[in-house]
Symmetry: C2
Subunit: 153 residues, 2 copies
């Protein structure tokens, strides 16, 4: 809670004036993070989201993603509630790839759904990697390769 108070710039009382309980507060934070991610995906693509995560790992955001992953694993109710978020991120990734394909900037030997699933898998790996506190110094070079894989060569 203290971190959240500092983050949001509101006192605990003011925060709970807006949110019914911790659960509602967590959902609001997670949805805000997901919306920010969708905006970056729409403008610059999922690889840019990953580059920003490597350049400036945001402990609060990684913590939120880990908690979302934990609840997806353990809480079927949350899994249902989170599905629209999951689907709209996937839709944003596919739209961005469609856009890149129309510009002729995308490799042509794979379907959009295949490329989207691939990028999402790399993204999940990056989150787990950073959350584990493993070194990120080689990862920017890995993403160069990643870009090469998806881009028209």
């Amino acid at each position: 809670m203290r971190v959240l108070e500092e983050e949001i710039g509101l006192s605990r009382g003011a925060i709970f004036h807006h949110f019914a309980d911790k659960e509602a507060l967590f959902l609001a934070v997670a949805e805000q993070d997901a919306a920010a991610m969708r905006r970056t995906v729409a403008e610059h693509g999922l690889v840019q989201v990953m580059r920003e995560m490597i350049a400036a790992p945001d402990a609060q955001r990684i913590g939120t993603q880990l908690e979302v992953a934990r609840r997806l694993r353990t809480d079927p109710t949350f899994r249902g509630a989170w599905q629209p978020q999951q689907e709209s991120l996937e839709a944003a990734v596919r739209e961005r790839l469609q856009h890149q394909r129309q510009l002729g900037a995308l490799r042509t030997d794979a379907e959009i759904g295949q490329l989207a699933g691939y990028l999402e898998l790399v993204m999940e790996g990056l989150t787990a990697h950073l959350a584990a506190g493993l070194p990120a110094d080689r990862l920017d070079a890995v993403l160069d390769l990643d870009e090469v894989s998806v881009r028209q060569g």
Copy 2:
């Protein structure tokens, strides 16, 4: 413990006759899984490990990997103790890629370290994905793409 008793085919008493405590037992299980993974990597590559995970998700093994990831995040002592395992898996991945390169089967526009880091990231993503109970039906097609990316086109 009950799952472990069934898995190993020994009673709780017999298990603790061999292992000092739960901690030692967990380490033995995790090291056994890591050794099995290294063998598959050496013979067939990391992509084959991923294909086997998708074809027959092993809840116990995924649970062990999640617990290793959790301890890497939260327990600096474990992080130090696990480092040799991490390094020998990475070495096995690099050796396999070197071998493929000597056979002329590997894409030539990237360094071995870059390709290894990339495959390890996809592997981390797959573990997180399966652990979250997300659908695995599209993932085999994603790995086809993955193979294409690493293989000589």
